[in-house]
């Protein structure tokens, strides 16, 4: 019995071990790194592409006008008062010769075309169908001359938020509904199962289109809410199955013998064991939510302008198919992101499902 004490190594829980196995999967890891990179791009978007300085010194004070990309109100009012009109490089130099600024990596704006000489010595963005990719416009420009790269960088937030927020909502609803049905069984299960089936019959895309037609101000948040409110059925079914299975397990019986009540049993005993298999469809759900949003935007029901999601860029391409760069770059971005989430989901499944795992000690 003493071998236990002599073994000094750190004791690893289920998730630590799953992570160790996940790290050994090159594809899944690459996908995870890709998503992490996208998250970084989303957060740092104003510093990657924009026309507002990341940081500047103006009339003796430091400002970060780039925050205006997150929210208009975060842009220092000084610049509006001094009539910059959103054009920083020239104004900064003219109105305060001592000023300096750190600019975004790419001087392009996601909401408007860059004009001639706005950046010293640089021509205006080409408009119409002439804005093919170049050194200045990496991914080309759309028919109004707005830089596609800048649009895509600033659209990353939407792409990621759509997935995470809608599946966060769907996961919460699905786990609660599934847990109640699976644990209590009987009429509770009957009720939750029927509700699940009814919701399952609702075609998400059509519902969203209908809602957008009705509500006054369609925002991306409302779209996410609908995707979440209709996308929980698969998760609920899986959670129900896991709860049904685990409810019969001996450690749950042991917990009942110890006097544990239903809440404690569900939260402490069943849920931690049911979480891994449920996380997998949530990950896949993120991928499909991104696709749904792209499809909506493509149909022209995306976020209201000027905000642009990747899908709405594809929509722009419809009017002029010769502008191939409007299709290829956003298309590839959507494809890669969806692929990444699917790879992560698959990896997660492989490292958490003991049946898919090879040798386990």
């Amino acid at each position: 019995m003493n071998e236990i004490q002599s073994r000094g190594r750190q004791s690893h829980g289920f998730w630590a071990e799953a992570w160790a196995r996940f790290r050994r999967k090159p594809l899944a890891m690459a996908a995870l790194v890709f998503v992490a990179m996208l998250a970084a791009v989303a957060v740092l978007a104003p510093a990657i592409a924009g026309t507002k300085p990341v940081l500047c010194r103006y009339k003796g004070r430091l400002y970060a006008p780039c925050l205006g990309y997150f929210d208009r109100r975060l842009e220092p009012t000084v610049f509006a008062k001094d009539r910059f009109r959103g054009t920083y490089p020239k104004n900064l130099a003219e109105k305060d010769p001592d000023s300096w600024a750190i600019w975004p990596l790419v001087f392009q704006d996601p909401y408007r075309a860059v004009r001639e000489n706005e950046w010293p010595g640089r021509p205006a963005n080409p408009a119409k169908d002439e804005g093919r990719p170049s050194r200045i416009n990496l991914f080309g420009t759309d028919q109004y001359g707005v830089d596609v790269f800048a649009k895509m960088v600033h659209g990353t937030t939407i792409a990621l938020l759509v997935g995470v927020v809608s599946m966060g909502l769907a996961g919460t609803i699905g786990i609660i509904v599934g847990a109640l049905g699976g644990y209590f069984g009987g009429w509770v299960d009957m009720l939750t199962s029927r509700i699940t089936e009814i919701v399952m019959c609702v075609p998400t895309l059509v519902l969203i289109l209908a809602v957008i037609a009705i509500v006054e101000k369609p925002t991306i948040w409302k779209t996410m809410a609908i995707i979440g409110a209709t996308g929980w059925t698969g998760i609920a079914r899986l959670t129900r199955g896991e709860f049904l299975r685990l409810r019969q397990s001996e450690f749950v019986t042991a917990a009942r013998a110890a006097g544990a009540g239903p809440v404690r049993i569900m939260l402490r005993h069943i849920l931690p064991n049911a979480l891994a298999p449920v996380l997998v469809p949530i990950t896949f759900g993120i991928a499909s939510a991104i696709l749904t949003e792209s499809a909506l935007s493509f149909l022209g029901f995306g976020p209201p302008p000027p905000a642009a999601s990747w899908g709405s860029l594809l929509n722009d391409a419809r009017s002029n198919l010769s502008m191939w760069w409007l299709v290829v770059f956003p298309g590839v971005a959507i494809f890669l992101t969806v692929l990444a989430y699917n790879l992560i989901g698959e990896g997660l499944q492989e490292v958490t499902d003991p049946r898919l795992r090879e040798a386990r000690k």
């Binding site: 019995m1 003493n2 236990i4 004490q5 004791s11 690893h12 829980g13 289920f14 397990s249 001996e250 450690f251 019986t253 042991a254 917990a255 009942r256 013998a257 110890a258 006097g259 544990a260 404690r264 402490r268 005993h269 931690p272 064991n273």
Partner: protein, 354 residues
């Protein structure tokens, strides 16, 4: 005779069989169908029988882990089946269970600390410091140290896990333990260790056991009294030594004859039963054992045999009752007669049959 700690009378646990769209109840599996016994404080009742006979359900019904459908269970004078809520929780502190499979009975996501602590938290036993002491003590009693607290169940071997399961059961200081095949899933080399541990704990902590097993020799070693179950009923019950020396029920005889003997010279004659165990959903009329009993008579098919009790040795069998009567109540003589009656079937049985 003092008041028994556990007193079970006519316990019935039927599982409904539902069919069709409306899930109408079309019948019931009578897993436990009228079981009575009592266990006195500090003693061990062994419960034996083949798989599916309902012995596990008996254990779980007593703890209300499955809801019994009839009968009564009294624990220390209190009606277990009538309590609920806080009262039931209080009773559960005093009655614990150790399961067969130490791989299934420990939550794989919890450290041993959380597993042991849970009962203490639920029953509000001790403060944080005190809890650690209690857990360490329980682990020490089962042959583990406090180092085990910060490990997960999968880091232990089967025997060690079963020790953890036993520690979980005793950490809240119960009076009564249901041991549901506690060694059947373990390696043979470990079984003896765990059995000895259980016997030690019984002496040290003054525990009362219901020891459920299909391993006849272990039951003989551990138990004071032994009850033999067949198809949801107890067919024979006696003090361990008496039962093993003078088995009276044909089923008990068949069961004992199946135990391999270690003495090479003394070859036991095997009594081979024909047919399968009937479904507990449709138990046979009369004596439940009659379709497989080589001694079955007309009366066995029609009348359920009542208990015949001789000096604490109870048997439910028409034939055995008659033999006992003819032997003038001498169980030893009757047991010899029963064995002789069973013998011809043993001789003609083919060795391949089970």
């Amino acid at each position: 005779m003092t008041q028994p700690l556990v007193d079970v009378v006519g316990l019935e646990t039927h599982f409904p069989v539902r069919k069709g769209l409306l899930r109408r109840e079309v019948g019931a599996v009578r897993a436990v169908d009228g079981v009575s016994f009592s266990v006195e404080r500090g003693r061990t009742l062994g419960l034996v029988g083949e798989s599916g006979c309902g012995k596990t359900t008996v254990g779980r019904s007593i703890l209300r882990l499955v809801e019994p459908t009839g009968g009564s269970v009294r624990f220390d004078g209190r009606d277990v089946l009538a309590t609920g809520g806080a009262d039931l929780r209080g009773l559960r502190r005093r009655m614990q269970i150790v399961f067969q499979d130490p791989y299934g009975s420990l939550n794989p996501r919890m450290k041993v600390r959380s597993i042991l602590e849970e009962g203490l938290i639920i029953h509000r036993l001790g403060g944080a410091d005190d809890r650690l002491e209690r857990m360490t003590r329980a682990l020490a009693r089962t042959g583990l140290t406090a180092a085990a607290l910060d490990r997960y169940p999968h880091e232990f071997s089967g025997g060690q896990r079963q020790r953890i399961a036993i520690a979980r059961a005793i950490v809240i200081e119960p009076d009564f333990l249901v041991l549901d095949e506690p060694i059947s899933a373990l390696d043979v080399s470990i079984q003896a260790q765990v059995v000895n541990l259980l016997v030690e704990l019984r002496e040290q902590l003054g525990l009362t056991y219901l020891f459920i097993s299909h391993d006849l020799s272990v039951v003989e070693y551990v138990s004071d009294d032994v009850a033999v179950m067949y198809l949801g009923r107890i067919v024979e019950r006696a003090p361990a030594a008496r039962l093993y020396a003078e088995p009276l029920h044909p089923y008990t005889l068949a069961l004992f004859s199946a135990v391999p003997s270690v003495e090479p010279g003394r070859r036991r004659r095997r009594i081979v039963l024909t047919g399968d165990v009937p479904s507990p959903a449709r138990p046979p009329s009369g004596c439940r054992f009659h379709p497989r009993c080589p001694l079955a008579e007309q009366v066995c098919r029609q009348v359920e045999p009542p208990a015949t009790v001789i000096d604490g040795h109870a048997v439910h069998c028409h034939v055995a009752a008659r033999e006992l009567q003819q032997a003038g109540g001498d169980a030893a003589v009757a047991a010899a007669r029963m064995a002789a009656l069973m013998a011809p079937t043993a001789a003609s049985a083919s060795p391949a049959a089970v």
